[in-house]
């Protein structure tokens, strides 16, 4: 097996607390980022359509053009789907570019599918958001290394806004 995201920070962001292990029968959705094709070519096309001195300037690609370019190989699609089906994943849905796959699994299935992962409930953020995340790194079978970039929904917490009021509003009683 291998770890696709060994360098992902897994510390709890300030203001979040753990509510303990998730029930193995609970369901969660995970997003699998499938390996794309022709990324170098995509980069060249971006340069061509964005550079005013290029004859291609402004001749943007449609979503379908982009899908034709980056769509994962049939081998990638087949390998990942077979692996997820064998693990009991249900209600999988993709996007037009077919490079993301979101599936529903029970916590038990997800922890078996992604060795090392251990799902916990957390609550935090300005609106007391509830999330399920793993404080431990996950692994994937080595055979998936050429096919999966990362799995979303394990480590990263929802963002918080850094917007602020300046000067900070003064609270009655703290004014010197």
């Amino acid at each position: 097996s291998y770890s696709p995201e060994p360098d992902q920070r897994r510390t709890l962001p300030p203001g979040w607390v753990s509510l303990g292990r998730a029930d193995p029968e609970e369901e969660l959705s995970l997003t699998f980022a499938l390996r794309q094709q022709n990324v170098e070519r995509l980069s060249e096309l971006v340069q061509a359509v964005s550079d005013p001195s290029s004859p291609q300037y402004g001749k943007y690609l449609t979503l379908e053009n982009v899908a034709d370019l980056v769509r994962p190989s049939p081998l990638t699609l087949h390998t990942v789907q077979k692996w997820l089906l064998a693990a009991g994943a249900q209600k999988c849905h993709s996007v037009i570019t077919q490079d993301f796959l979101t599936c529903w699994l029970s916590i038990r299935q997800a922890e078996l599918l992604l060795p090392g992962a251990e799902f916990h409930h957390y609550v935090g953020g300005p609106t007391e958001t509830h999330v399920v995340r793993s404080p431990h790194p996950y692994q994937l079978p080595q055979a998936l290394a050429p096919h999966v970039d990362f799995v979303g929904g394990l480590h990263r917490f929802p963002p918080t806004s850094s917007l602020r009021q300046r000067p900070e509003p003064q609270v009655t009683g703290t004014v010197g």
Binding site: S50, T127, S162, L163
Partner: protein, 368 residues
């Protein structure tokens, strides 16, 4: 004289007349994205426009909400984005992407990226105020998200990201301080917006650096070719460069542009709130102005602006007010004493090329 930034202050400073609004006849549109469990309220927008939108034509409501618009309290971030995108890009159809993560396991930003990959016809300009420390994200995630941003650029979408509100940032690596870049602001495929303040806080004057304006150099992405000349010039001519151990001089440098980020009025939960500040404010303002330029381009049969940076740097920031005074914040230590980079003539990693002067920017971006 003014008592804080309102649409009329923005429109006066950036030389938008009452005629500089969407025509209502093109299929032009713009969008902002929300990732928090906080929502905008139509009633706040209506009150905001009643208070501050009297002297320009504008749309009364958001044209489309993509995703989940909850019934909870309005959030200042969501209220700000909608109110100022629809005031700068006035009378242009506006969408809101609301991706708070529909289920407990979902990552809101990833949800938004997938929405972009799942719909053919999207607004031309998207503004986003989300960002994370580059060092907190796995390289697999950063590289893949960067490819997603590249996909959007290939489709001619203009993605504007707030540069962050911590100046150059700061963290400790092996006991030594370094500046701390944020992502996706540091992606070479987005246009990143920094922040400014008025030189005289209660007058519409020239702008100076807002010390919180995020900026610096990526530790992940190398410097893209489009900014080679501008960044080399800055590095060789800035009289106040921090020690080289604090930043990766060969990385993608940001922001690319800026706008006012200090002292906004926002209406949230029916209450007018003063002094709201951050590059979350400057980003929808710049986005709205680009949408107005797209309006002219579309009406004259030209494609929308798309990914702006190659053109912006080729034209050396023409059509922008150059912000040349002030420095942003960074590490509080003896070596840099809380100071990051400083602005100067031309491009700099605090305010980019500067803030919009609408008539001049329109002239320079209308053709071809």
């Amino acid at each position: 004289l003014h008592l804080g930034v309102t649409p009329s202050v923005i429109r006066k400073r950036y030389n938008l007349t009452s005629q500089d609004v969407g025509s209502g006849t093109s299929n032009n549109s713009q969008a902002c994205a929300q990732f928090l469990e906080q929502y905008f309220h139509d009633s706040d927008l209506a009150q905001f426009m009643r208070l501050f939108g009297g002297n320009f034509a504008h749309q009364a409501s958001v044209a489309r909400v993509v995703g989940q618009q909850g019934r909870g309290r309005a959030g200042i971030e969501a209220s700000l984005d909608v109110q100022y995108l629809m005031s700068a890009g006035a009378n242009i159809s506006t969408w809101v992407y609301s991706s708070p993560g529909r289920h407990e396991g979902q990552e809101p930003f990833l949800q938004w990226l997938m929405l972009l990959s799942n719909e053919s016809a999207l607004p031309h300009v998207h503004t986003v105020s989300y960002g994370d420390d580059e060092d907190s994200l796995s390289s697999a995630y950063i590289q893949r998200v960067n490819t997603e941003l590249m996909k959007a650029a290939a489709r001619g979408l203009t993605l504007l990201f707030a540069s962050g509100d911590s100046g150059a940032g700061c963290w400790s690596v092996s006991g030594r301080h370094q500046f701390r870049p944020t992502f996706p602001a540091s992606s070479p495929y987005v246009t990143t917006v920094g922040g400014t303040s008025f030189q005289e806080p209660f007058l519409i004057t020239n702008e100076i650096v807002d010390y919180i304006s995020g900026g610096g150099f990526s530790n992940v992405f190398p410097r893209p070719s489009y900014q080679e000349e501008a960044v080399t010039k800055f590095l060789s001519s800035s009289p106040h460069l921090p020690p080289s151990s604090y930043f990766n001089a060969s990385g993608r440098a940001y922001p690319d542009v800026a706008a006012l980020s200090d002292g906004y009025w926002v209406v949230s939960n029916r209450v007018p709130i003063p002094w709201v500040s951050g590059t979350s404010a400057s980003t929808p303002v710049f986005g709205g102005i680009l949408s107005l330029i797209n309006e002219h381009r579309i009406l004259s049969g030209r494609p929308p602006l798309g990914f702006l940076n190659p053109r912006l740097y080729q034209q050396h920031g023409a059509g922008l007010f150059d912000v040349t005074r002030g420095c942003h914040e960074s590490c509080l230590d003896e070596e840099v004493e809380g100071q990051g980079f400083c602005s100067g003539p031309g491009w700099d990693p605090v305010t980019g090329w500067g803030t919009p002067n609408f008539p001049a920017l329109l002239k320079t971006l209308l053709n071809p």
